[in-house]
Structure formats: C-alpha cells, structure tokens
C-alpha cells in the first residue's frame, strides 16, 4: 500500500487492488445501509448477502498476485475463503428464510417492526 492515497487517482491508474477494494467497500456500505433501513425481513437478508459479497470481493482481490501494490498477498487462501463464504451464505440464507417463513405463519407479515412482543 502506498502511504499516499487519493480517490481521484483510481481513474487514471491501471486496475490495482484499490479498485477492487473500492467496489468491495461500496458493496459493504450498500449492504449495511440495507440492513439498517429495510423494514422487510427479506430486504434485511439481501443486505446481509451484499455485505458478505463485499467481503468476498476483498478476499478474491487480495488473493490475486497480479493485483498487489507491493507487500504480501493472500495467495490461494483468498479464493478459498471466498468459496467457503459462498457456501456459508447459502446455508445461512436457507435457515434465515425458513425462520422468516415461520415468522410469517405466526404474524401474517414479515415486517421486522411487527416483531415487537419482546422488548429488548
């Protein structure tokens, strides 16, 4: 990593790790916003998928030896971790959707604001 970093340089430089990290960061922020603002449980789950994929973007970019701006790279660990995360995300989505369906059966809605019987 260079110690001087300007966002505007991204447009003039050849594709490097910073470009991929920027996309990953945008995905992460979109996902986090989605998690925080959506009232529909499915929307929240989609936000979580975006966050996981933002992290995956980073893993794959850090795992590539042709993108390094100097310093260490993750090697095969990067893509492997991304693969594991994809599988886990599928498992988590399956469980979360089942739970959302169960919630719908009991509440006739998947609005997370309706989950108000338990006051944390």
């Amino acid at each position: 990593m260079n110690s001087t970093f300007h966002l505007a340089n991204l447009l003039t430089e050849p594709p490097g790790i910073a470009h991929f990290m920027t996309v990953g960061a945008v995905l992460f922020v979109c996902g986090a916003m989605c998690m925080a603002t959506k009232r529909n449980a499915l929307g929240v789950l989609m936000g979580i998928e975006l966050v996981l994929n933002g992290a995956n973007m980073n893993f794959v970019a850090f795992g590539s030896q042709y993108l390094q701006n100097g310093g260490e790279y993750l090697g095969l660990d990067g893509p492997l971790m991304a693969l594991f995360v994809i599988v886990l995300a599928a498992a988590e989505a399956a469980v979360a959707l089942a739970i959302a369906l169960n919630f719908y059966n009991n509440h006739d809605s998947i609005d997370v604001d309706r989950a108000d019987q338990l006051q944390g």
Binding site: M1, S3, F5, P14, P15, G16, I17, G24, F28, G31, A32, M35, A41, V44, L45, G47, I48, V51, L52, G54, A55, N56, N58, F59, A61, F62, S64, Q65, Y66, L67, Q68, G71, E72, L74, G75, L76, D77, G78, M81, F84, V85, L88, A91, E92, V95, A96, A98, I99, A100, N102, F103, N105, N106, H107, V112, A115, Q117, L118, Q119, G120
Partner: protein
Amino acid sequence: MNLPTLIDSLISDTVQRSLPLFGPELALCATIVLLLLARVIPVVDQIPPLVIALVGAVVALVAAIPREGMAGLAAIERQELFTGMLVYDALTVYLRLFLTAFAVLFVILSRLTGIADRQDGQDYYALVLGATIGMCIMASANHLLSLFLGVEMASVPSYVLAGIVKGRRRSSEAALKYAVYGAGAAGIMLYGVSLIAGLLGSAHIPTMAQRLVEFDVAAKLADRDYTVMVLALGGLMVGVGLAFKLSAVPFHFWCPDVFEGASAEIGGFLSVASKAAALALLVRVGIGFTEAPQHGAEPPRQPVAAAAASFATPPAIRMVAATNGDERLAQADGQAGRSSDQTIERAGSAAEGSPLSPVRTFFVSVVAAVAIITCTFGNLAAYGQKNIKRLLAYSTIAHAGYMMMPVAAAIALAGDNPAAASDAIAALLLYATIYLFMNLGAFAIVAFLRNAMQSEEIKDYAGLVSRAPMIAVAMTVILFSLVGLPPLAGFWPKLRLLQALYEAGGSLLMFALVVAAINTAISLVYYARVAKTMCIDPQPDTSRPVQLGFLPTTFVFAMALPVAILGVLPELVAPWTRDAAAGLFGV
C-alpha cells in the same frame, strides 16, 4: 514440488497427524449423519433419537479425555492441525472436554423437560450437536477462516434452536431477531477479517502476528500511516462479531429477547456453551495477535503455500503494468526462501517482545472498556425484570462482562509476567466451568417449573419453598453462587478474577476491578429478590401444588451439588484449569 507430492503430503498430514486429534468432533459429525439418516433407514428409525444423540455425545466426551488422563493435560504440546487451521493444545483439550460434557448434560436435560419429542427429535439433536462442533472449532481456531467458520457453525443452528417450538409467536420472533442480528454481525466480522487478512497477507494467526511485528505498528503510528487505521478498523469489525457472540454491550440487544422468546433449555445452551466458546475465541485472538510466535518450527502450511506459489504460472495477459508485474512475480517466487529467514528473525523479536505493544494496548483497552460497560449494564438492567428468563439473560450479559476482564488482564500481563497471565486465563476457565453448573441448573429449574406451573414470571414463584422445597433450595443456592457469596462455588473465580486484575495494574484495569466489586454488590439485590420471592413471600391461595418427578429433581441436584461442593473444595477443578492455561504463555 509437484501436484502428486503435494497431495500426498496433505493426505499424510491430515490422516496421520490431524484426524487422530480431531476425535470428539468426528464422533459428533458421525452422530449427526446418523441422526439425519434415521428418517431414511427404517432400522435406524426404530432407535429413539435421544439414544443416538446421547451415545454420540458420550463417545465424543470419552474421545475428548486426553490419553494420559487429566494429569497429562500439562504435558500436551502445542500442535497445528489441518495445515494450520486449528491448534491443538491444553486449552483446546480442556474446552472440548467442557463442551462435550455440556452436550451430554444438555441432551439429558432436553429429554427430561420433553422439549424434543419423537417427531422432531432428530432435527433437534442434530442442531445441538452441530452447534457443539462449531463451538469446538471456535475454541481451537488458529486461522481466520476457521474463526469465521466456527462462529457461523455455532450460530446458524442456534438461530433454528431459538425458534424450534412451533406455532409460538414469541418463539418465531426470537428466532427472526437472532437470525437477523446474528447474520448482520457475522457479515461485519467477515469484512473485518478480509481487511486484516488482506493487509497482513495471511489468514494464519501466528503468521499474521509475525507480519505485524515486521509491519512495525509503532513506527507506522508515528508516521500517521493510514494502513494502521485500516488494521484497527478491521480489528474492531472482528470485535463486533465476537461481541455479538459474547452478548457484550453494545451488541447485546438480541440476548434478552432471544432468551425470553426461546424455551428455557435453549437459553441455558446459549448462555453456557456459546459464551464459553466465544470467550475461548477471544483468548485465541487476543493471544494470537499480541504475542509474536515463539515456536521456531513453521507449521506444515509453509511447504504447501510455497508449492502453491510455484504453481501459479505467469499468465499471458497481465492485469497490471508490465514493469511492476515482473517485480511482483519475483517476489512471489522468493517467498519460500523468505519464510526461512523469518524463522531466524523470529527468535530475536520474541526476546524483545515490544513491537506488538501498541496492538496489546489497543486490545486490552477495548476489551476492558467493553467488559466494564457490559457488566454494569447487565446488572442494572436485570434489576427491574419480572420474567425469570429475562432476568437470567441480563445476568448472562453481566457475567460475560466479568469473564472478559481476566482476558484483558491476561493480555496486559502476557509480556512481562507470563505466570500471572496464565493464572488470569485459569481464573476464566474456572469461572466458565462453575458457570456451567450454575446456569445450566438455573435454566433447568426454570424449564421444569414451566412444565409444572405454566409460568415463567417471578411473582408466580411466590412461596415455592412450601410447594417444592428441594427445587427452591437448589435455586437459592445457585442464585447466591451467581452473586459470588463465599461458601459457594461462584466466589472463587470472582476472587481470582479480581486478583488477576490487581496483578495487571494500570488505571483502566484497576477501574475494572472497582467496577467488578461494586457490580457484585448490585447483583446481590436482584438475585436475592428472586430468592426472597421463593422462600419468604407467602404462597398465594390460588396456587396448585407443583409436581416434579424424581429424575428432574435428581438432575437439579446434580447441578446444585457441585456448586456447593466446589465452593468448599475449589481445588477439585482448579489444577486442571491451571494446567490448561499454562501452555498458552509457555509457563
């Protein structure tokens, strides 16, 4: 090295080294497969799922006992399994024993309270054992991937368990909240993992610590280099995931809701096993990132990584400017050679011990601050609760705060006083062990009373002592032990915890000591209130007699007796915890 030799070395490493030491997890895996196949194979379907689960958990427990018995705990050498994914040392052995023993007790409890019936027994036990495997992986994580996998494997079954009781509105709401918060926290943690792993160029925790030493945090901090900021941000994001598992403030929202909505047994599962595993993971991460690895021998991962690097042939199309690209390839080829240089450097850097001190200060201050807030918040919020499960949930939050304090003390002490640091971790392990009996007992009593009187409100426990004297006495013993009053078991870990904080010194940890002491006094009020309701308040006229069978009463006593006995004789368990902690700091 070519592909066949690489595969051969991987297979021999896996089969000869790793799998024999992975016995308890394998036993649990086999049990889960059998439970899932039971529906398909008619012969297996005849066996009650309880029997399969219980036999599997007992086999795992037996496999978790070290070959030389508990006396051999101190002699266990640190080893890395599965090319550095997991670590096998005395702490792993102790925690696996703890978790599998808990699984056995929990399976028995589930049978006694009747939460898992003949219909969904297979699913229920498969989820419980699956979460236990995840917790075992958390306790032995040595790689950021196994850290994340462990957390997810423990969490995802827990989401389902929170909503396992069908057709209850509250239960489904608890499951949804738990799943949404949990998945969100896991996503944030994963992003943090990707940041630190990417910046340090490895996800293997000892290698990362080594890179951190080379990275020279102190100098970068003086230069106001932004990479340090990114590392700290990544570390905090990983902390979010851990804090969620620990139910530490400000990521505790799920805890009271889930405990109230889910059945009491699940509350016991989450508050004991899940907390213990999360604390173990905190210890692993804390020690992993603040101690430069002292072991000269590289993990077997290195030849694999080097071989993988030499596999990668330069592609025809370069994605980066050609001039830089060649340098990078040269760097990649030189990596195998460099790792041996690192081994030589390592001896020198371990002796100084200073390059990681900024990381250590950061970790200690974050953990101590969160612990102080968590334990104060938990105790204050528990004060006004009317539902016993909510009260126990806030009590769990408070105890998570107490249990994080020795971790901070241990990391603060690790540099100059390893003996005191390992005593602090021993205090944590003793706390977790005694907490198993206290909290599993408390939640078991709540579950049995729910079956007997269909209520979980504290006011309905009024005059319980005349209706079910044994249960009331057992609950009182457990509650006073949770406060930490001297003749009971809860006193010793709290005393050792305060001792560890005192040893560590420093203004923040001394403040934590004062806060822990004051909190113990605050907690007396609400625990004593429940005890007073049960033992002193008059019985309402409308109440019916409470009938508990012989076996439930026996189970409750099996939990309450150790609380009383360990209060008088803490040395029954304490030496094991000391042995388990000693290896961590090379004492």
